[in-house]
């Protein structure tokens, strides 16, 4: 019934191969963009068809086997897809937001060198991401997991002639390797321990079914889930492996929107959701996840205060919002985490694309005026709402959404997370407090961004300031769609106390509910407490907005005073708490030193010596053996006779 699932990743794969092989020859941007975007849209249509079919289906978990991959002993691994509410939500987000961002890229990337290369990578990314979320076993998922990492690397380094871009790409790749190492360790440990109990499988459904053969709360399951979580921190930019994400903004803006905001960075959250049964069995891991998530949400928000690059602010905001999702997973609010993943995909994609639209406009203006100012620096902006009204409106509603202003999508998802972190059996009021304060900070830095960019006086160079156009339709249409979703996307999950029935949670229940019941994970508390919590968090957010208004609209001289007063603190925040420097000092430089020693001392002298020596021996042997091949028939016959005599003689006289 769901047999056409394979089409969903197949379409972008075709697009990638086609543009990769023929894009260079086609040269026509319209054709290249239309193929990539059109195929993404086809993929979206198939995804939507399957999604609605699943909505109306009573059976919610479907495995579709495409082909047998390998069978060794008792292990049978297939090329298989798993469609359940969780993956259904993910494919809708990936293909839907993906299609919009592809459409956006047609206009945004216009005139860029290697236009075909961009779309080839983007399609390849979509393919990998869909394999990741649809994969029915850990190996298929792993292909996607590595594939998205590769595409992320390729796209961050898209402007590879630029040193900062290729450095950022390398950083992302290396940091992700650390996470992938954890992921693989977890996978192999799980595989062997399950196998030692007679369950040889990598299939998710079977892991969920037989996971209970491991001891709940035991060492094995804790280690396994911690390893998986390490993988998630790499991919989803959590403490301690978040440092690559802000640098990843070197990539083109659509890349930041698609990969580094809406989809790839949420893979870690998805993975925890996919294996929620195992995680539910390991309270220690869950607690770690919740703490790391809350800390990341809080910590990244502080850095957002002092950044001047519009995309960097959004990057830290992404790290912070991902922290919320992990907080949700950690306190057992699995569906709330996925809910926030979805609303975040809408509003953050819209924000990134909006920032791209502003950058695009400024770039155009500077180009027109032959200036080389930085089009991403917010200190050069201001007053853009009049120049780019559509961009402004969509950006503004998305900002309201991310700040958790009531009635916008982010309000529902963030509030549910905060409520669970307070009321859940695995929650704690400290977690709630960190989350609530981070929400206030989010409101502050986001409105700081909005005020600096769109309001006030235009601080752009006078020679350029009148040449900022509104972006073309291919850019504004995705903005409007995403802006609309940022407003209404939350209404699928209106909580009970606000008179809703939380459809979203009900839909995802088949994936999570069993484990939540079984391990007694639920949020409890009086409705009055819930109202109170909600009011407090809304109050904090409003306060943040108010502060931003005071400092950046009412008294624009205030920020300068603050920075002068708290110069040390400001400098620390501005320099991102020196975490990069710390990592360089503690990890990177010693590693480099060890590496240099291994290179000069061990590698060149010993390893190369051995390898070259071996190669010399091998070559010598080959050259020597070659002389056995004289070309004379009688020599060959002689060799055969000798061979026969030795073989037969050996057996007869032995």
């Amino acid at each position: 019934m769901y047999s056409n699932l394979w089409l969903i990743p197949f379409f972008p794969l075709v697009g990638s191969i086609f543009n990769g092989l023929f894009g260079k020859k086609i040269k026509n941007e319209a054709v290249i963009g239309a193929i990539a975007t059109g195929l993404m849209f086809c993929s979206f249509l198939v995804a939507a068809q399957n999604f609605f079919r699943l909505l109306g289906d009573t059976e919610k978990i479907h495995e579709v086997v495409i082909a047998s991959w390998m069978s060794i002993g008792q292990l049978q691994v297939n090329w298989e897809f798993l469609l359940d509410p969780l993956s259904a939500v993910m494919i809708m987000v990936v293909t839907g937001v993906g299609t919009l961002i592809h459409l956006y890229s047609i206009g945004y990337m216009h005139g860029e060198e290697g236009y075909y290369r961009f779309f080839c990578y983007m399609n390849l990314f979509a393919f990998s991401m869909l394999m990741l979320v649809l994969g029915g076993n850990a190996l298929v998922m792993f292909i996607g997991w590595e594939g998205v990492g590769l595409c992320s690397y390729l796209l961050i380094g898209y402007y590879y002639e630029k040193k900062s871009a290729s450095d950022a790409a390398k950083k992302a790749f290396v940091v992700n390797r650390i996470g992938d190492f954890g992921f693989l360790c977890g996978l192999l440990t799980l595989f062997w321990t399950l196998g030692s109990k007679g369950v040889w499988t990598l299939n998710f459904v079977q892991i969920a079914e037989h996971g209970h053969v491991l001891e709940a709360g035991g060492l094995v399951v804790t280690v396994v889930t911690l390893c998986f979580f390490l993988g998630a921190t790499g991919k989803s930019a959590q403490i301690p492996l978040y440092t690559w994400l802000p640098d990843a903004m070197e990539g083109p803006t659509p890349v930041s929107a698609l990969i580094h905001a809406a989809t790839m960075v949420t893979a870690g959250v998805y993975m925890i959701g996919r294996m929620n049964g195992l995680f539910a069995m390991a309270p220690a891991t869950m607690m770690t996840i919740a703490i790391i998530g809350a800390c990341t949400a809080f910590f990244a928000a502080t850095i957002g205060f002092a950044q001047n690059d519009i995309k960097r602010v959004l990057a830290y905001s992404t790290v912070s919002q991902l922290g919320y999702m992990f907080l949700a997973m950690g306190v057992g609010a699995f569906s709330a985490g996925i809910f926030h993943l979805m609303t975040h995909a809408f509003f953050k994609a819209c924000l990134f694309l909006g920032s791209g639209s502003v950058i695009h406009g400024l770039h155009h203006a500077y180009h027109h005026a032959h200036l080389h100012d930085d089009p991403q620096d917010m200190r050069n902006m201001g007053g853009i709402r009049k120049k780019q009204p559509i961009t402004f409106i969509t950006f503004f509603v998305s900002t309201l959404a991310i700040c958790g202003v009531p009635l916008f999508s982010g309000f529902f998802s963030k509030d549910e997370i905060l409520w669970w972190s307070f009321g859940s059996t695995r929650g704690h009021w400290v977690l709630w407090l960190m989350g609530a304060v981070a929400a206030g900070m989010t409101a502050f830095y986001m409105f700081r961004l909005v005020f600096m960019t769109f309001f006030g006086e235009q601080k752009t160079d006078p020679r350029a300031k009148d040449h900022i156009p509104e972006s073309p339709l291919t850019i504004t249409i995705p903005l409007m769609v995403l802006g609309f979703l940022a407003v209404v996307g939350g209404y699928v999950g209106v909580p009970k106390i606000l008179g809703g029935i939380n459809r979203f949670e009900h839909f995802l229940a088949p994936v999570f509910e069993h484990n939540q019941h079984h391990y007694e994970i639920h949020a409890h508390g009086a409705a009055s407490t819930e109202y109170l919590m909600m009011a407090i968090s809304v109050g904090i957010a409003t306060f943040g907005i108010f502060m931003a208004w005071t400092m950046y609209v009412k008294n624009p001289e205030l920020p300068a005073k603050f920075t002068a007063r708290f110069a040390g603190l400001y400098k620390a925040v501005f320099n991102k708490w020196y975490i990069d420097e710390l990592y360089d000092f503690v990890f990177v430089n010693p590693c480099k030193k060890i590496g240099t020693f291994l290179w000069r001392g061990i590698d060149v002298r010993i390893v190369d010596g051995v390898v070259n020596g071996l190669a010399w021996v091998v070559k010598g042997l080959g050259a020597g053996l070659r002389y056995t091949q004289s070309g004379y028939l009688y020599n060959y016959a002689m060799a055969m006779v000798v061979g026969v005599v030795v073989i037969v003689g050996f057996y007869i006289f032995n």
Partner: protein, 486 residues
């Protein structure tokens, strides 16, 4: 004797030999057609041959899960035979696809070429379905005689003549060993039936110490080891592969080799099962020797056909690893590997067919310098085949080797698997060197003479699809290979 004939006549079951029968009939008809065709007009014969092979393929499918024994148990069309027959048919089709333009380029478009390929294939299928040493021998000879002619097909080229002659002399020499071995076995056991020999060993556990029996078995195996080009009986391979017309080289390395393995497996696994423990140590040594000799000498080759000849020796060594394993995984791994090898090796040869000039003196390492830039699609295709020959994922070569070594490890031959993998590492050098030439050297030639003709392109495309399909979705065919095992 009288009785035997009587029995044989009563047990005739034409179903059992139908594939070879059909193919031989087609071959003879086509031979007649070539007589009445103009010299140089051979294209229609080629297409008719392909049609004949396709029909034969369907005929042999009749034996799948429906074993047909015939002629008093001297032939059987079972899953095993069908599997190998289909490999040979695939190899023959790919060969014919790349032949037509090749023959025209080399100015030797004579029509007997195609019927000879059909006869070779018929012989190969006969070998795969033989359950009596005499029928296997018959198949082997039909196959060999046709191949001798094909190897020396360019009668005005010295190299081709040399190839044909050397192959013939050494082939005859090895057949001598084979027949002598069969005679000795008959002397001891009183039968030439594979099952009969197995029964004899079962009834006489002391036959391991029976000199005549052991000598007979080993001499017979030498005959097969020669055909699969295992060291130290491999020396004919480089000279013959280099001298023979390139499509024929490709064919020899895949179809007849698969058939030889088929007979080798059937005779050893069934007939000589009783002396398994003695034979595995022999195969262990031969496998390591074959892999090593093939890979090491290939390192110093400059001529691409010759390099691929040594590479094919080393691949026979990998297949022998599966023989050492002597278990279900190892056995089905060999069958799978033969299929994989057919696609990847014939694909590589098909690319060589396209880039060669008349006389093929340019098929050297230097000759492909810069090919990747001048002919990007051919370059990519060759890379896919070379990656597969190296055994890298996601190509079929990886899964093939994976199953082979998995079988060895399962039977406890860890060191053999380690040596096999080390050998694979050595082989990286000479395969990669071709790619280095293709992509890191400036082109000295413009490759203007390369014109991609449709049939050869089809054979390359089929091979690529095969290599990638078997590499990414190995499960289906591996299961078929398992069903085809004993």
């Amino acid at each position: 004797m009288e009785n035997l004939v009587q029995e044989a006549i009563q047990n005739v079951n034409l179903q059992a030999i139908m594939p070879s029968l059909v193919l031989s009939a087609f071959g003879m008809v086509l031979l007649m057609i070539t007589v009445f065709s103009k010299r140089g007009k051979t294209t229609h014969v080629a297409w008719l041959s392909i049609a004949a092979l396709v029909v034969t393929g369907f005929v042999s499918l009749a034996g799948w899960n429906n074993p047909q024994a015939g002629f008093a148990g001297s032939v059987i069309l079972d899953n095993f035979a069908t599997f190998f027959s289909l490999i040979c048919i695939a190899a023959a089709i790919l060969t014919i696809l790349m032949s037509d333009d090749y023959l025209k380029r080399e100015e030797f478009p004579v029509g007997e070429y195609y019927p000879l390929i059909l006869f070779t294939t018929a012989g190969a299928m006969w070998m795969a379905s033989g359950t009596d040493l005499m029928t296997i021998f018959l198949g082997l000879e039909v196959l060999s005689v046709s191949l001798y002619v094909l190897a020396g097909y360019f009668r005005d080229q010295t190299r081709s003549n040399e190839a044909g002659l050397k192959y013939f002399f050494l082939g005859a020499f090895s057949t001598g060993f084979l027949l002598y071995g069969v005679a000795l076995l008959y002397g001891v056991t009183g039968t030439t039936k594979v099952q009969g020999i197995a029964d004899y060993v079962l009834a006489h556990p002391d036959s391991v110490t029976n000199t005549m029996f052991v000598a007979g078995g080993l001499l017979m195996l030498v005959g097969f080891l020669f055909k699969v080009a295992a060291a130290p009986f491999h020396m004919w391979t480089p000279d013959v592969y280099q001298g023979a017309p390139t499509p024929i080289t490709a064919f020899m390395s895949a179809g007849p080799k698969a058939a030889a393995f088929a007979a080798f497996i059937r005779v050893t696994i069934i007939g000589l099962d009783g002396i398994q423990s003695e034979l595995t140590s022999l195969f262990w040594i031969l496998a390591v020797l074959t892999m090593t000799v093939g890979n090491f000498i290939a390192l110093s080759q400059k001529d691409l056909k010759r390099m691929l000849a040594y590479s094919s020796i080393s691949h026979a060594g990998y297949a022998l690893v599966g023989m050492v394993a002597w278990n279900e995984v190892g056995l089905s791994a060999i069958m799978y590997y033969m299929l994989v090898y057919t696609f990847m090796n014939m694909g590589a040869f098909a690319v060589l067919v396209l880039i060669g000039k008349k006389g093929e003196d340019n098929l050297t390492l230097d000759g492909v310098a810069g090919l990747g830039y001048k002919k990007p699609i051919l370059g990519v295709a060759l890379c896919v085949f070379l990656f597969s020959l190296m055994g890298l994922p996601p190509t079929a070569g990886f899964t093939g080797k994976f199953y082979i070594f998995a079988g060895a490890i399962k039977s406890g031959y860890i060191w053999l698997a380690v040596l096999g993998m080390l050998n694979s590492a050595v082989s990286l050098f000479y395969y990669l060197r071709v790619m280095v030439q293709m992509y890191f050297k400036d082109p000295e030639e413009d490759f203007a003479w390369v014109s991609i003709n449709v049939p050869t392109a089809i054979s390359i495309a089929i091979s690529i699809v095969g290599v990638l399909y078997l590499g990414i979705v190995p499960g289906t065919l591996m299961n078929l290979a398992k069903m085809a095992g004993f």
